[in-house]
Symmetry: C2
Subunit: 267 residues, 2 copies
């Protein structure tokens, strides 16, 4: 499976930092009851796992990913005692090794955007979910993103990431399709709402976190692909990255992005 | 002053409907105390005036606009008894006929996006505001808008409106600049937050309202300019409008837009 952001140490660092910065925006309202069997599908390096566990202190987690490398990184977390409640497993989201109705809840965060066939994956997750159980899905929408000051180069660099992800057959703007994807997979949609971030000079820490610790390194994680595929000329890309970083350094800089968070039930 | 949407009866109807559809999104949290002297700058046909009055039942409103035609339409509202508390006046926002510190609060909604010099207007409004008084500003950001299904033609039609507004020197993406504009005019920014709308099949009335009663007629209000200036070829424009309308007719249709709402104080 192609993953547009790659598997570098820097990317692992970005994923851990991102999870902390966005915790309140993405995890508020998500809590599973005692002994609930929760499947985290596409756990990667375990960046969201710690936050999931914190808000559901007595649930039991099975966290799966396809990447051996990401799972090896995630497994380092097992040194922490609270990770007793977590089992990390290598599984293919399109062909799970679990029996029907093995889980009470499924949690999916930043995964569908990286799949060739998101509806097929959702159907397979539904198979492993008990009737009446819920799936919670969080996905970004890169087309939702804007900032000030906007320069042609910063827009080109950002669009380079979008094009790189599309070139490998994935949808970086999947957030807007989350409701129909869940419905299409046969779930009964309960809620689907934007979970947004906006930061200006009144929220300097959030602005710094989003721009310098999430967005800029996220584009850079796909830099090789963006440049090798000639999606953006190198000097434009470089000025674009500098212009994006500058959003956080200027008094007048503002940044907006929205994810979408949906909850649906297996009928 | 050029106004991209024109002054037709259909546009008046759109403005009244829009105000009702968006009331909770835009007006929640805005209430002025008894006898507060409130200046509504750029009241147009009075579409927001009724909602302002409803939430501030004992405040006193002075509502100004540059357009005689819009004011004539607004003045029809004076037939309703609760409009006793409202004075409609023709005034130029860049050169107000009010003494310094004449008002306790200023309210501005969908106005800065249509001005040649928004910071100059904010400075003039500050002059008429008492020290310690507040200004509340609501502006859209057309660059924030996206939908599903997205077609090249629907994007082109929407971008035609953006280009038409830019061609007359105005900024349809001004929402993202609201915080720095207020700061630049010498106000002390208190809050600036997105006020967003997202609708899918779970919210059919809101989706219908936003797509068919706000967005499509808003683009159509600029149709002559879009076509006369050759911003979008006519067949593309026509398919684009049809595709936008279809967002509301499909089960899988989704729509997102965000305005920004800021409150700032005169130091």
């Amino acid at each position: 499976m192609a993953y547009v952001h790659g598997y570098s140490e820097r990317e692992t660092q970005r994923l851990y930092e991102q999870a902390g910065i966005l915790e309140d925006i993405l995890h508020s309202g998500t809590a599973f009851s005692a002994n609930a069997r929760v499947l985290e599908a596409g756990c990667g390096v375990g960046a969201q796992t710690r936050l999931l566990m914190k808000r559901s202190p007595e649930a039991v987690f099975t966290c799966i990913d396809l990447s051996e490398k990401s799972l090896a990184t995630a497994s380092r977390l097992k040194a922490q005692p609270e990770f007793r409640r977590v089992t990390f497993l290598r599984e293919d989201i399109t062909r799970l090794g679990f029996a029907e109705e093995s889980f009470d809840h499924v949690f999916v965060c930043f995964v569908l955007e990286h799949l060739d066939a998101p509806v097929a994956a959702l159907k397979e997750l539904k198979r492993a979910l008990r009737t009446g159980g819920t799936i919670t899905v969080i996905e970004g929408d890169h087309g939702s993103c804007f900032w000030h000051p906007e320069t042609p180069e910063s827009v080109a660099a950002w669009n380079g990431l979008i094009a790189a992800q599309r070139n490998i057959g994935h949808d970086p703007n999947i957030g807007r399709r989350l409701a129909p994807l869940l419905t299409g997979a046969g779930f009964a949609l309960q809620t689907c709402e934007p979970a947004w971030l906006y930061a200006d000079r009144l929220k300097p820490a959030l602005r710094d976190g989003m721009v310098d610790h999430i967005i800029v390194p996220m584009v850079q994680s796909a830099e090789e692909r963006i440049l090798a595929d000639h999606l953006v000329p190198k000097p434009v890309y470089e000025k674009g990255i500098a212009d994006l970083s500058r959003v956080d350094q200027l008094d007048e800089g503002t940044f907006f992005y929205t994810w979408f968070k949906a909850v649906a039930r297996k009928p």
